[in-house]
């Protein structure tokens, strides 16, 4: 599904990713863990195609095609979804109008007929029920007046609507209390399915108690320094990142 090879990325002239290699097979859930400043959010943004993130070396293969020259909207239409760490607030645009445009942009790209208002509403209701979310969400302006937990749940709802092949979840657990974390994790689990790959980017291990990954990568100073099974996350939780940082510096 996703094959990152020797990826170097600069932000405002500063090298943040310094040769990342990562393979995420179809249908698997991988976690990328790392301390603050290790390049986790850069990895998420560069996968989604943010223009401020400059790929200087290496490539990102998504289903065999190099992503690096693609616009953000092309990536989205090809099935890549980024759940933002800080979802933006957009006054005056309702979730329903926005999602209808987004869903239809993706459907059009796939050669599927666009949904009319009634079909869209039916799909939205199904997904809201699946995630046990309130229908009122649809008529609210995007993330305006939402709590931190509601914003993150809205991201998961958007993911459900857009039906991606590859979902990148950037610190989806940050800023959530334990109840909200449980709800968001249930949502992610409900969306796990064969063929869909999920890359969870997180600082803490606690989300991984609820959404159990197939594989864990540790990102330190712009490089993957260690990869392993889910027990690696527990090891990090117990010992912290200190040893890894030391090893990376050596």
């Amino acid at each position: 599904m996703l094959n990152i090879e020797n990826l170097h990325v600069e932000v405002e002239g500063k090298e943040i990713l310094r040769g990342v290699d990562l393979v995420l097979p179809a249908g698997e859930v991988h976690a990328v863990m790392g301390p603050n400043g290790s390049g986790k959010s850069t990895l998420a943004h560069v996968l989604a195609g943010h223009e401020g993130y400059n790929v200087t070396q290496g490539r990102i293969l998504y289903r065999g095609h190099d992503l690096t020259a693609m616009e953000p909207e092309e990536r989205a239409r090809e099935g890549i979804f980024l759940a933002f760490q800080y979802p933006v607030e957009i006054p005056g645009v309702t979730n329903a109008n926005f999602l209808k445009s987004a869903v239809n942009a993706v459907r059009k790209h796939r050669g599927e007929p666009e949904l009319d208002a009634i079909e869209f509403l039916k799909l939205a209701r199904d997904k809201l029920a699946l995630l046990r979310m309130d229908e009122k969400l649809l008529s609210r302006a995007i993330n305006i007046g939402f709590s931190g937990g509601e914003k993150k749940r809205n991201e998961i709802f958007q993911m459900a609507m857009l039906d991606p092949q590859l979902a990148v979840l950037d610190e989806t657990d940050s800023g959530l209390d334990i109840d909200a974390l449980q709800v968001v994790a249930d949502g992610i689990n409900a969306l796990r399915r064969p063929g869909r790959s999920i890359l969870m980017i997180t600082h803490y291990q606690r989300l991984l108690n609820y959404v159990v990954p197939d594989w864990v990568h540790v990102l330190v100073k712009g490089r993957i320094v260690k990869s392993g099974g889910k027990e690696l996350a527990q090891e990090l939780e117990a010992k912290g990142y200190a040893d890894m940082i030391k090893a990376a510096a050596a």
């Binding site: 989604a48 195609g49 943010h50 223009e51 616009e71 953000p72 909207e73 990536r75 989205a76 239409r77 980024l82 933002f84 979802p87 933006v88 957009i90 006054p91 005056g92 645009v93 926005f98 999602l99 445009s101 987004a102 869903v103 942009a105 993706v106 790209h109 302006a141 958007q158 857009l162």
Partner: protein, 450 residues
Amino acid sequence: MMNADSSIAIAHDRFIAIAHDRFAEAGTPLGGVRLPWLESLRRDALERFRRTGFPTTKVEAWKFTNLAPLARTDFVEAIAQGVADIATAVVDGYRLTPDCHLAVFVDGRFQPALSDLGRLPAGTRVVSLSQADEADLRLVTAPPAVDDAPSARALVEFNTALMQDGVVVHLGRGAVLDPVQLLFLTRPGAAPRVAHVRNLLVAEAGSSATVVETHVGLGRGVYWTNAVTQVVVASNAVLRHYKLQAEDEAAFHTAATSVRLQRNSAYRAFMLSLGARLARNELDVLLAGENGEARLAGATLARGDQHLDTTLRVEHATARASSDQDFRNVVDGRAHAVFQGRIRVAPDAQKTDARQINRSLLLSPAAVADSKPELEILADDVRCSHGATVGDLDKDVLFYLRARGLDEAEARATLIDAFVGELLDGIEGEPAQAYLRRAFADWTRKGARP
């Protein structure tokens, strides 16, 4: 600067000469009879205009808007009275709803045959200025509701001297008129024309009305609409006054609306300004009675070389009144948007609640927005706030939308839609809101054309 000022002086002399010719001709006076007080008032207005001339950018209230291009143009007065040869279908294209009460003006002249005023509800009167009674004429020629320097008011004086026609909308006590449309159509001619339109809206105690005022040009060409509108909202009356300025892109549009609000009355204004090469929308509101409420909002959509100015003067003369100004600009190309908003709170206007916000979205590097708030608060127990922002579309927000599959053009359009749409949401009454939404959608579509 020198050139502009000297050309204004020459133009000014020419206009004065035309005005004197007009007075000498002594055609049909307003109201059908000679009213000595009115004639002397008009001569005085002309004299004041002669003294001040067109405002230059040296006049504080006009420092962002240069009238030199208007003053340099040789205008002839719009054609004399007569039936305009315009198909009903053309009128229908701009009509608020197929069955709304409708007063149509062509080149500044009332057109009974194109209008639809046969089913007016009891207690309401909608007539042309030529049928105004003396009391109407006194109200329509009252000085502006809020003070400013005489040099700032030259166009109002000019209108007073040369006004020929306009509309009187009069609601008796408790009457309801919802909605009525005032449709001003202009046909650009071989020579640039000017129409000095003069209107009066009176809502007596306890009445309620929605007035939609539309200005459009039928075809390409230079002309000038110079409108002055007097509004009186008596106690417990509600007036919703929505204006669409969609003049031709070669036209000039100057308008001064002056509103007097009495006890417990409400005035809700929305101005959508998207036409004309140069437009100036002035709105003066005097809160003269306790618990008066003025809710003023508007969107200016400027592109190409347009220069669109909105100038407000809100005066709290009494305690416990509230006013709210929410004006937004979308500026593209080399266009220029101006917002000036004055709030004055008189010394004894305690418990005043006055708010002002002006936000500008600049869509191109050459677009300009000027914003000038002016607060003069002489009472101590008040709540007043103002704010202004100017910026481009937020890059992070654009990325968010694109990361969900919208292309850049769709993402930009979505955000511009939302920026203006939030204001349109505040328009009361489905027909008026839908009408202005359509006008906005047309503007957006026109911009999307290559």
